[in-house]
Structures are given as C-alpha cells and as structure tokens.
Amino acid sequence: MSVLVYLESENNKFKKSSYEALSYGKGLADKMGVQVCGVVINCSDIESLKAYGPDKILKIESQDLSAFSSKKYAHAIANIMKSENAHIVILSSTPDSKYLGAHLSGVTDSSFVSNVVELPESISPFTIKRTCFTNKAFSLTEIISDTKIISIASNSFGVIENSNDSLAEEEIDIKSIDSNQRILNIEKESGSVTIADAEIVVSAGRGLKGPENWEMIETLAETLGAATACSKPVSDMGWRPHSEHVGQTGKPVSSNLYIAIGISGAIQHLAGINSSKVKVVINNDPEAPFFKAADYGVIGDAFEVIPSLIEKLKAR
C-alpha cells in the first residue's frame, strides 16, 4: 500500500506543479502512515525530487511514451497501481494531468475527484475539500470507492520541503498498449509563459480599447515573468487569441498573483480567476465591481498607470 504521485515533466524537467503534487502526496501518506512513491515517465532529474520527501521513485523509460498519450500513460499507471497495490493516485491540474486523471479513472473503474484544495479532513470515511460552481463554493466530498484518483488545484497546497535522502529508485518495465491515436503536429505558442503554469498572470479587458494597445500589457507581463490573459469579449472580438480567454467559460486561473487591467469584474470573469491568491485591479472606474474582489486596487487610467508601473518595476 502506498500513495502514488504522477510527476509530470517536460524536456527532462519536472513541472513546478509536480513538486506541489508530491508535497501533497507526502502529506497524505504521512497522515495515512504509508509510503509515497513518485511515478516518473522519461525524466532523469530525480535529484530535484528529494527535497519533497518521496520514499521511492518508479521510473519508466520508454520510447513508446516519449510523447504524452492519455491512453498509454493511463494504462502504464494502472499497471503500476496493480503491481504496487496502490489505491490512491495524486496528480496536478495541468491540462495534461487532468486529461490523464479522468482517463485513468475510467481505465481503472474508479472515481476521480478534481480541484482538491486540502488534505483529507478524515481518512475513514475519506472526506476531502474541493472547489465547485467555478470557485463560487467548496464541497466537502466523501470518496466512497476504495481506489481514488485525486487532482489538486494549482497553488492550493503549496510546495513544501520535506527532505528524504534515502530515496529508492526502481526502473519499471511496461508493456505498451496499442493505440491508433497518433500525433501529427504540435504548434507551440510564441508566448513564453503559459496561463496554466504561471505564477503571475497579467490580464486585460475591453478597457484597453483595441488590440493595438496590448504592447504595454505584454511588456508588463515580460517584466514580471508573467503569462498574458484577457476577458471574454476581448477574445470574442479577435483582439487576442482565444487561448488567452479566462473565466468561467475560458481557462481557469489559479496563480499567485492576478493583475486585472481594464476588466470590469463580471461574475463570469471572477468565477474563473477567484482561486488566484492575490488580485490587483487597475481600472479608471471606482465603481467597477472588480474592486470588491481585489486585494489591491489602483483607480486610474491604464494608459498612464501601466507604462509608469513598467518603468518602476524595471528600475527595481
């Protein structure tokens, strides 16, 4: 019996969200008095995991798994669950990990609970807190089934150091699964930081007046190492790509810092970004509803505030 944590990686580096998932797995395993094992597919940076307390790393090196495939990965992890007699799998909530988690629960005929924000309140019965109604509420959910697949909301638990130097490593052989699903091409976006992985998101709305004014938004994002995002009408009008649309019907944001510029703060927008830790609102209308949801606010014209803010940040 152990808690498995799937550790997503890209280009031989673990995602930061994987360290958070591992921290969570360690916390859960301690609470249950069992071991925590990391599952690693094609990544050799095992050293970097030590700080977060895994007992064992199960390593898969496989040409067949060189590109992410939810089906192949799900079957690989399902096999490890069997051989390790593991009933709990923890994943992060990146797009790939959520995709995989749902598929894995189908393959293993078990339940998947996503958007989890805390360690279980109790282990027996197994009750866990998750967000629902697009961050407008929390649910304390009991997971009845023995096998549990759990994905944790980004930045909800945090990365917690818990060093373990006596880390065991084991190479796992998996037999491949046939799939007629084949990747033809991957088009990478030019922006360097993605919304899903970003610590900081700089987001702008209709208050910016037109697509030609986004240069200062991009510069601000670049200065902060942030991802750029936008409100729904901005992507609907084609000012920005729809991959930047955040909110209830767009991408969810749960960054550490969310900066909203010229966005009014409609309920559908707030729903999708509410789980971000700290919110800064810049708007020239003191009545904008967004100020009610903000931690810090600047009442002012974005066209004056943003260039000045960039200048001051650069001078730091």
């Binding site: 629960s105 339940s111 304390l140 033809l184 803010l309 730091r316």
Partner: protein, 248 residues
C-alpha cells in the same frame, strides 16, 4: 454517422450560489438552468456534422424530469432525438456508467461531451466514458474534422495546440474554439415547433451506486476590504506586492 452529445444541465452563469438542508444541497430556488456552455459548443459542431457528414445527432442527459426543458432546447437547436436516463445525477461515476450502458446498446461513432461542467467542474465524465468503453479520447478539443472513419482533431495543451488523428469511435471534451461564440445557434420559431415533434425518450436507469458524495457545501469567506493605492504612488504598490503579499 451516429453522434451522441452528452448534455449537462447547469445553473445559468449569473446564478447566485446558495445551499439548503443544512448546506448539503444546492438551492435550485429561482435558478435558471441552461445547457452547459462547453456542451453547447459541442452540440453546434454536431449539428454542422449533420450536413457535412450526414450524421444523426442524439442528445442525452442523465437526470430527473426537470432537465427536459434543456433537452427540448437542444432539439430546437438541431439535434434529431433526445434521451433522458431517468435518475438523479448523483456523481460523475454513476452518470458515466449510465451513459456507458446506453452506448453498449446503441453504437455511436462520436461521443461529444463538454470539457467540464460549470457546476461541479470535474472534467471527469468524458474520461470515464472513454476509459469504460476503451474508445479514443481527447479533451480541451478546439478543432475536429471527420472523414469516413478517421478523425483529425486539435487539443489545447499548456503552451500550444496538439494536432492528432485516430480511427473512430472517439470521445471528445469540447470547449470554445471547436466552434466560436458567434456560431452558436439561437433556436428560431420553426426550430422550436419542430422540436415538439422530435422524440424525447425516457430510459430507465441501471441504478448505479455513486462513488462520491457531497457532504457539505460552503462558500469562500468574504474578502477583506481592498487596499487602494493612488495612481501616482505606484512604488507603494510594488512595495506591498513585494513585502506584504510576497508575490513578486
């Protein structure tokens, strides 16, 4: 080609979220229910495939009688037929099991779900259906082309778009991008009249047990008052973000 669109009946996006019965149940009082927005993109795509690929489109909801108004709206948008599996939607697992059972009786080439529902936001049901049936699966789907028995599709991933192909059957999790907002079909009078003639079958449930249960809901604590910073004192903002919030 036979297409199934799984429809989740969700509170309108502007709904105030409240709970009753000692915070154990969602308060539906005064709440307007709509087609889950992610499902509506998928339904629109399905209606397009009727013309381009000579498809038949069935919409299905697992739920109680109150969901029928939403199913009728789907028929008015252009689905050919609706099915309601008659039981409360207790959790993602039991919903997906009911849908699996139906899909073993009626074969579909393409099963369209939403990426996630905006009420429970699980993003679970499509993955479960695909896993149960051992069908191909893609979520966050932003493009889909069907030619004969081959599907070519794109999914939004972190930092880009991945384009893949596979043989049908396929389960997708749809979202905006599969069709655009401006493509959504607003039912006209003729559509609404025709919807009345279209079949809405009620199918008994298999009585699957749920694997999860909501015990208690609560709402996030009210935020403390916003700290306002003057537009000409941005140094103060930077200082607060650096030293108080510790986020930059």
């Amino acid at each position: 080609m036979n297409i199934l669109v799984c429809i989740s009946n969700v509170p309108d996006t502007t709904s105030k979220i409240n709970f009753v019965e000692n915070d154990s149940k969602f308060d539906t009082n005064g709440v307007q229910f709509i087609i889950n927005p992610n499902d509506e993109f998928g339904l629109t795509k399905a209606v397009w495939l009727k013309e381009s690929n000579n498809a038949t489109v069935t919409v299905l909801t697992v739920g109680e009688q109150s969901v029928e108004a939403t199913l009728r709206k789907c028929l008015a948008i252009g689905a050919d037929k609706a099915i309601r599996i008659d039981c409360p939607a207790n959790d993602a697992y039991s919903v997906a099991k009911e849908i699996e059972t139906h899909c073993e009786q009626v074969k579909y080439d393409l099963i369209i779900c939403g990426r996630e529902s905006i009420d429970y936001n699980g993003g679970i049901v499509p993955g479960l259906i695909a896993g149960f049936l051992d069908y191909n699966f893609v979520t966050n789907c932003v493009n889909l082309e069907i030619e004969g028995s081959k599907a070519t599709f794109s999914r939004e991933m972190s930092g880009g778009t991945e384009i893949s192909e596979c043989q049908l059957p396929l389960v997708i999790g749809s979202q905006k991008g599969l069709v655009e907002e401006s493509d959504l079909i607003i039912p006209n009078m003729r559509g609404i009249m025709m919807a009345r003639q279209k079949p809405l079958d009620i199918v008994p449930s298999q009585g699957v047990n749920a694997k999860t249960r909501d015990i208690k809901f609560n709402k996030p604590q009210a935020k403390s008052e916003v700290k306002l910073i003057k537009a000409d004192e941005l140094d103060k903002l930077i200082d607060l973000l650096e030293n108080e919030a510790k986020v930059i």
